[in-house]
């Protein structure tokens, strides 16, 4: 039995059902990535797994117990979430923001300790922001800011870390930067990572376990090398494509089909009505 699982959950907001009777297991120590077209329910599933959304039916289990009946702080010491949008309080420094990740480990009687201090420093070092401690979060670039939020989630010291579209709004180099960081955290610290990603090629390159969703259902799951095929991409995304080995990593690389054959030499084709 894996640590984090969903048992035939029905998910939705108000009356709108997003997914019905969905079951999923997150393999321990995996870097699991959930992909699928917009509105397929991938973020909704992640929210349910992270206790943000209560299933209408079914249950999410963390270490064999229903996640919604566990004390909030206990969950927060086991499972961390990097939500899509977080707000940095105005005028907060990087070190102070990262330190807020220690929240679930503190209480009225247990205040700030040298142990907390050490963990905050380690979290900042492992996300490569060790030198930015005294800078204001407002001053940082988007990529640096995302590292700060990841450092905060790391300081929470949870064996499981969930990330909801951690690369959205970032430039391509920062996207790769953040994903490399995630892969490193997964490999060196043995944490279980679950991320929702938009880019199928990023997912195929970084995931050790891939979950492909469409219209609230899981279409396929497994190692990217085994499940990512042209047929699957067409079924999940409705996109005609070729799948070739990534020249860098050998993982599947999805090349969308051209609009029409020979389009890449479109410049040479006479344009109708042209002189």
């Amino acid at each position: 039995m894996q640590r984090l699982t969903a048992e035939s959950v029905t998910l939705g907001y108000d009356q709108r059902v997003i997914a019905e009777n969905l079951s999923v297991e997150i393999p321990d120590h995996s870097f699991t990535v959930i992909v699928g077209p917009n509105a397929c329910g991938k973020s909704t599933l992640l929210r349910a797994l992270s206790r943000m959304l209560k299933p209408a039916r079914g249950r999410v289990l963390l270490d064999g117990e229903t996640i919604h009946s566990l004390p909030a702080k206990k969950v927060a010491r086991t499972l961390g979430l990097l939500p899509q949008s977080s707000i940095a309080p105005e005028g907060i420094t990087v070190a102070d923001l990262v330190a807020r990740g220690r929240y679930p480990h503190q209480g009225l009687l247990r205040q700030w300790s040298p142990e907390d201090e050490r963990i905050v420093e380690e979290s900042m070092a492992s996300t490569g922001i060790g030198a930015l401690g005294d800078r204001y979060v407002d001053e940082l670039s988007g990529g640096q800011r995302q590292r700060v939020w990841i450092a905060m989630a790391l300081a929470q010291q949870t064996p499981l870390l969930l990330l909801d579209e951690p690369t959205t709004y970032l430039d391509i180099q920062h996207q790769i930067d953040v994903l490399d960081l995630c892969a490193e955290l997964h490999e060196t610290q043995g944490r279980t990572l679950v991320a929702v990603l938009h880019d199928l090629n990023h997912a195929a390159r970084y995931a050790t376990h891939l979950i492909a969703m469409r219209e609230g259902e899981i279409i396929a799951e497994g190692a990217p090398g085994e499940i990512v095929t042209a047929e699957l991409v067409e079924r999940v995304f409705g996109l005609r494509c070729q799948v070739i080995p990534d020249p860098e990593t050998g993982t599947p690389l999805v090349i969308p089909a051209a609009r029409k054959r020979g389009a890449r030499v479109a410049g040479a084709v006479p344009v109708a009505g042209g002189a």
């Binding site: 992270s50 206790r51 943000m52 004390p71 909030a72 702080k73 206990k74 969950v75 927060a76 010491r77 961390g80 979430l81 990097l82 939500p83 899509q84 949008s85 977080s86 707000i87 940095a88 309080p89 105005e90 005028g91 907060i92 420094t93 102070d96 807020r100 990740g101 929240y103 679930p104 503190q106 009225l108 989630a153 929470q156």
Partner: protein
């Protein structure tokens, strides 16, 4: 330094008044009380007034800091969001229609008024999708309507006019130890509550999802925070009438000193708010000698420009 400023302004509040007393006489009243007219003035008027200013100032400053954190809105303030207006409208109704005359009676009406209006403004401001500007607009509209009501009651009930005037503009002038004795337990409870929720408020400021993923209890924190604000504003308004802008100015000033950690903001706000309130009260006593300007008017005069500055400094989208 903040504490030194507080001590200084307390001394000024005792020493300076509409009636110019030489310092020697003030000293005499404080330490060699003999029952002379001036001694009575110091003991029975200025000291209670200063003590009341202290606790009411702290209450308003803390309420403002909590509201700003809770709504993630730099313009949130008990005066601006109509909480104080709600409390005064309730008190005015109590006096005029229910014949309530004791402060103990006012306090409960003030609590009810403050609580109803905070919920109403929150709903009018778009509840979950509330943005700072909508919330401030809703607060302003509700405040205007409530003061219209308060004024109407005053005009219609000429017998009660004098007692009511106090409730349109905040004032410390009628302070006595009895008032202090009646409101301090409520304010103390409110202060205790705000200190207990300082850490969860820190978490809440980072957005609902982040707060929840850190293990903070959103609903519990919000309810306790609203309870604290109601206690603080209700008690303060019951004792002095509505005083605006203290809760807006002080938390901003404090943030500039301490940064965004509520565990520092709250104690600083509790110390510096009475400095502003008592300072404004002293100014009000001096500028219109031998009469007095009510402290509510002075804080409004000081606070207006600060409010405009805040709105102008930030682009509205950032608010």
């Amino acid at each position: 330094m903040a504490v030194a400023a507080l001590v200084l302004v307390c001394l000024a509040s005792i020493a300076i008044g509409a009636k110019g007393l030489p310092l020697a006489d003030v000293w005499h009243g404080l330490f060699h009380y003999a029952g002379s007219g001036d001694d009575v003035l110091v003991r029975k008027v200025r000291i209670p007034r200063t003590v009341l200013g202290l606790i009411v100032g702290a209450a308003l400053g803390l309420a403002g800091a909590v509201m700003q954190a809770l709504t993630r809105n730099p313009l949130a303030e008990p005066g601006l969001l109509g909480v104080n207006a709600g409390a005064s409208a309730a008190v005015v109704s109590a006096i005029s229609f229910f014949g309530v005359t004791s402060l103990t009676g006012y306090v409960w009406f003030a609590f009810a008024g403050a609580a109803i209006v905070s919920v109403a403004v929150y709903l009018l401001g778009g509840s979950r999708s509330a943005n700072p500007v909508r919330l401030a607009l809703a607060g302003t509209a509700v405040t205007a309507a409530l003061y219209g009501y308060v004024n109407a009651v005053q005009l219609l009930d000429s017998a009660a006019l004098d007692r009511l005037r106090f409730w349109t503009v905040g004032s410390l002038a009628s302070a006595n130890m009895e008032t202090v004795g009646k409101v301090w337990p409520f304010i103390a409870l409110g202060v205790l509550l705000t200190l207990l929720i300082a850490r969860p408020l820190n978490a809440l400021e980072m957005g609902d999802d982040t707060a929840r993923s850190l293990g903070a209890h959103l609903t519990r924190t919000r309810v306790l925070a609203m309870l604290a604000v109601t206690l603080l504003c209700g008690a303060a308004t019951a004792a002095c009438g509505p005083i605006v802008f203290i809760g807006l100015m002080i938390p901003h000033l404090v943030r500039a000193i301490t940064g965004p950690d509520m565990r520092w903001i709250l104690p600083y706000a509790a110390v510096l708010s009475p400095v502003l309130l008592l300072g404004a009260d002293v100014v009000g006593r001096v500028v219109a000698r031998p009469s007095e300007l009510q402290v509510g008017i002075v804080t409004a005069l000081l606070g207006g420009p600060v409010f405009i500055h805040l709105v102008r400094r930030k682009r509205m989208s950032q608010l």
